[in-house]
């Protein structure tokens, strides 16, 4: 039995996690260095076991809850702003798309020459915008959906 082997086992023996067998026990009994190390390890173990357990302050829970509430409020604010920005972007996109459609379908020309259109009759107007009606309908539905989701989210946040 070498001292290295005995010293490696000192912590486990001191903590009671290992019972020294015959050879190890004999070594601790005969080697003053290893016996001293074991004594030190046991003393250290006792000191560590008797360390006082720190207690949190009486206001700990209240303070923790305040921090949690503050963090949640901030997170809600960020979510709210993000949602509003997203909705605004969608609305702007829809308006831009509708405006582009109107320009491409010649509606601006219609408005500039309203008197001519009125005179050439309602049928001509319907013929012109007829093919684009599904697109207008889809854009309007998208806008209405966005506004409805916005209203729903705002109502949910207010509750």
């Amino acid at each position: 039995m070498y001292c290295d082997e005995a010293l490696d086992a000192v912590e486990a023996v001191a903590a009671g996690e290992m019972t020294p067998d015959g050879r190890l026990a004999d070594h601790y009994a005969t080697c003053p260095n290893c016996a001293a190390a074991l004594g030190d390890a046991r003393a250290l173990d006792r000191m560590l076991q008797s360390r006082p357990v720190p207690k949190p302050s009486a206001q700990f829970t209240a303070r923790a809850m305040t921090r949690v509430r503050r963090a949640r409020w901030r997170s809600d604010q960020v979510l709210d702003v993000g949602f509003n920005v997203a909705i605004a972007a969608v609305v702007i996109s829809i308006v831009a798309a509708v405006w582009t459609l109107i320009r491409r379908s010649g509606m601006t020309a219609v408005s500039n020459d309203a008197v001519d259109v009125m005179t050439s009759g309602l049928v001509t107007l319907v013929h012109r915008i007829g093919p684009s009606l599904p697109l207008y309908g889809a854009a309007t539905a998208l806008l209405a959906t966005a506004l409805a989701v916005w209203w729903w989210a705002e109502r949910d946040a207010a509750l």
């Binding site: 912590e11 190390a37 004594g39 390890a41 250290l44 357990v53 949190p56 700990f60 923790a64």
Partner: protein, 183 residues
């Protein structure tokens, strides 16, 4: 507070997830002593420990929606404690010498035993502060009532044997630091 059964713990987590503030307060009350003690023993600065312990509960609150319940809630909280301690205190506090107080106090041989114990305790705390953060954490946790060895291994995501080896090495290092004091 009585320990919760697994079912009651799941119910508490569900209430917290549903936004029940009282449930989260109960969760804090149930775990604050152990969380604070573990952190205070690792960082050794009361106000900092209180701040970090609150950080832990903030992280718990944020993380609850993602808590899958595969481990016990307490184990998951210990994992957060370990991360907070290791992130915040990666470096040992090495600036203070164990002998800093020696000049201001008479030695144990000239004072009564109680004072000698106090001085020794003070030196122990300073020695612990000089250990690497992971060693401080295992020392703090292992000698804390209510903290199971297995919980610590699971929290640190390490095999039980590795945690034991780390603990033995931490104590070996501590013993070397205190060698002269214990004789």
């Amino acid at each position: 507070m009585d320990p919760l059964t697994a079912a009651a713990e799941r119910a508490l987590v569900e209430r917290c997830r549903a936004g029940d503030e009282h449930a989260f307060q109960e969760l804090v009350d149930r775990h604050k002593n152990l969380v604070f003690a573990l952190i205070a023993r690792t960082v050794q600065d009361r106000s900092r420990a209180e701040d970090l312990a609150q950080d832990v509960f903030l992280r718990v609150h944020r993380g609850l929606p993602y808590f899958r319940g595969e481990a016990r809630l307490s184990t998951w909280i210990y994992r957060i404690v370990a991360n907070v301690c290791l992130q915040d205190h990666g470096k040992p506090v090495a600036s203070e010498s164990l002998d800093d107080d020696r000049r201001s106090h008479p030695g144990p041989g000239t004072t009564d035993r109680q004072f000698g114990d106090l001085e020794l305790r003070d030196r122990l705390e300073k020695a612990i502060a000089r250990l690497p953060a992971n060693y401080r954490l295992v020392i703090a946790a292992h000698y804390l009532q209510g903290m199971r060895y297995e919980d610590l291994a699971e929290a640190l995501d390490l095999p039980l044997g590795t945690v034991k080896v780390q603990l033995h090495r931490a104590k070996q290092q501590l013993r070397r630091l205190l060698e002269t004091e214990l004789k």
